[in-house]
């Protein structure tokens, strides 16, 4: 019977295969990239670069393993509309300029599908499973992105004990399904999540510390990952992207638009590891350019 004999840990690769994010500095912060056979969550407010990172990931997954990729195509499930096709094209152009990938169009290896609600996603899981077992392109599918998981749960649920219970059991169902797919096909699963503002100590358990940072700040406000404690139990690793506006002196070179003569406003972005079974606490600063998302050494 499958499943009831132990695995010999030496028979697996001693380091889990990772999928590059498309930037060596970001990869270094994550120990090589997004791990396969694992669910990684990206938490951030809107406009922080979650989607951009996911798009970039689905491109760099196509690189051969020698260059940090998985030689794989990806499935991009989006619940936020519209799908940023223009931006993907733009990133793809930069990607093709950076890597000589040969005779194929990277866009052909990114499969996009809309997801409207959590129930619908769960119902479609068998279809997704059969899609994974019969690859439609030259590459097997090894990356699944869900952008965003929070949007799937945004509208349908009331703040009643019954609905909250139904919601959290859906979390565990979806995550259980994703993890079993991740194991069966050795997938890197990335889900994005939104944040909610911290409403003070009487806001329930939202202020509960989860992970390496005591408080999360983005755009000068204290925030908490959406979907609460129950969902936090459903992912293997959690990353946080923050953005903060900063006023800097003129001589500091900056990618953002200037504001006035002597002062510039600059958005400083950071990627933090909140928790991950294989990573220590770490963070790195990054910028978003036309060509993609890149870490900066500072």
């Amino acid at each position: 019977m499958a499943g009831v004999s132990p695995e010999n840990l030496l028979r697996r690769p001693l380091t889990a295969q990772k999928c590059s994010l498309g930037c060596p500095l970001l990869d270094r912060c994550l120990g090589g990239g997004v791990p396969c056979n694992s669910v990684t969550e990206l938490v951030a407010e809107s406009g922080s670069g979650k989607t951009q990172l996911c798009l970039q990931l689905s491109l760099s997954a196509q690189l051969p393993p020698s260059r940090g990729g998985l030689s794989a195509s990806s499935l991009f499930l989006h619940s936020e509309f519209p799908f940023p096709l223009r931006r993907l094209e733009q990133l793809c152009l930069a990607f093709c300029g950076l890597h000589s990938i040969g005779e194929f169009n990277p866009l052909d290896n990114v499969f996009v599908r809309a997801a409207h609600s959590a129930d619908q996603l769960l119902d479609e899981m068998p279809q997704i499973e059969s899609f994974l077992s019969e690859p439609k392109s030259r590459f097997p599918v090894r990356v699944i992105v869900i952008d965003s998981i929070a949007a799937l749960f945004r509208s349908e649920f009331d703040n009643t004990p019954f609905d909250l219970k139904r919601r959290s059991s859906l979390f565990f169902k979806i995550s259980g399904k994703l993890k079993s797919l991740a194991k069966r096909f050795d997938l890197a699963v990335v889900v994005t999540n939104q944040v909610v503002d911290f409403m003070g100590e009487n806001g329930g358990m939202n202020g509960l510390r989860i992970g390496n940072l005591k408080y999360l700040y983005s755009s000068g406000r204290r925030v908490c990952p959406a979907l609460g404690l129950a969902w936090a139990n459903c992912v293997n690793s959690r990353l946080f992207l923050s953005r903060n506006e900063e006023v800097v002196a003129e001589e500091n070179s900056s990618v953002n638009v200037g504001n006035g003569d002597t002062l510039r406003r600059q958005t400083r972005r950071r990627l933090y590891v909140l928790f991950a079974p294989h990573l220590p606490e770490s963070s790195t600063e990054f910028v978003i350019r036309r060509e993609g998302v890149f870490g900066v050494d500072r």
Binding site: M1, N8, L9, L170
Partner: protein, 346 residues
């Protein structure tokens, strides 16, 4: 001296007595292999001794002497035995202290905490530490790791194993200062090979593996630790029939308890935390409800206190409530960096 009367060879009798087995009851609940290791004799010889002893104790009973039911123990013997039982160190002295020396064998210990507090890290550390050889004060056992969440990372286990081997060989050199020939034989890869890893993707699989453990461990007697990380995950999906869930969990807890007793091993179960609506406000509680909370012998809760990780003994029949800081480092679980903080007994 009861053992003195046994019709066994003089050398065996001397070995028994010098190892502290002077009464028939002290022999009554031993396994042949355990006795063989204790006395450094072959298994068949040990079996012969136990047969003779049990025959004699039965004769005693018919005489109306101090009869004992086979396998029963007096509390005095149990206390004695418990003090001799080795414990699995957590690699954090403060944590070991409040646990009474480490994770106890023959017991089920439940450890709960929020995501990212270090449950899996502690699990990996214990799976490595159970393998510390006997001559270094460890148990020299193997571990079964049941991973229901997919958070076990081989690279992390290797990192912890490497650090542990370094620490052990340092300690080994201290122990055998005059004898340079005593080299550490344990390698990080051996440690990984001695972790029997099960990856579980549904609650039915989880039940199946736990039912299978009895057979598995009877074939692998050197397993001294069973870890389930976490017991909760697949039981928090939609269970329409909550009574079924309670029954399944109860049956599982009972099986684990039996395993711990029968094979003299430690069972460590990880649990998640959830919010519970009590007295008009939300509070944190371990998942799986009230009936589950009776299932484990010990309960340890991991939590954040400021910027430090703490462990708190929530329930234990023998330990007093106490909390201690610990930290998760590259090498694994270690003492908290701020050493000035003393353990707080409550």
């Amino acid at each position: 001296m009861e053992v003195g009367r046994l019709p066994i060879s003089a050398s065996h009798r001397a070995k028994l007595i010098s190892a502290g087995y002077t009464t028939l009851s002290s022999l009554s609940s031993l396994s042949p292999s355990y006795l063989a290791r204790e006395l450094n004799i072959t298994d068949s010889e040990a079996l012969e001794i136990l047969k003779v002893a049990s025959l004699n104790s039965r004769l005693d009973r018919t005489d109306g002497g101090q009869a004992i039911v086979n396998g029963a123990q007096t509390a005095w013997d149990m206390l004695h035995e418990e003090q001799l039982l080795p414990r699995i160190t957590t690699s954090c002295a403060d944590l070991d202290n409040i646990l009474g020396g480490g994770i106890n064998c023959k017991e089920v210990t439940e450890i709960g905490g929020v995501p990212g507090i270090g449950k899996t890290q502690l699990g990996i550390q214990l799976a490595v530490n159970v393998q510390i050889p006997v001559d270094l004060g460890g148990m020299g056992g193997k571990a079964v790791y049941i991973d229901t969440e997919g958070s076990f990372m081989v690279e992390r286990a290797l990192q912890i194993a490497e650090a542990s081997v370094l620490d052990m060989s340092e300690y080994n050199d201290l122990l055998h200062k005059e004898n340079r020939a005593c080299q550490m034989k344990l390698k990080p890869n051996d440690i990984l090979e001695s972790i029997y890893y099960f990856r579980i993707c549904s609650y039915t699989e989880q039940m199946a593996v736990i039912n299978y453990l009895d057979k598995f461990i009877s074939e692998h007697k050197d397993v001294k630790l069973v870890i389930i990380d976490s017991v909760t995950f697949h039981f928090r999906q939609d269970f329409e029939d909550l009574a079924l869930r309670t029954r399944l969990l109860g049956g599982m807890a009972l099986k684990l308890m039996n395993l711990a007793k029968t094979y003299n091993l430690a069972v460590v179960i990880f649990n998640q935390v959830t919010t519970k609506y009590m007295d008009g406000s939300f509070q944190l509680a371990l998942a799986l409800g009230d009936s589950w909370s009776h299932s484990c012998t010990n309960r340890v809760i991991l939590y954040w206190n400021g910027d430090e990780r703490y462990a708190y003994i929530d329930k234990s029949p023998s330990l007093r409530s106490a909390s201690a800081p610990f930290s998760v480092t590259t090498k694994g679980i270690r003492n908290s960096a701020s050493n000035y903080k003393r353990i707080r007994m409550m």
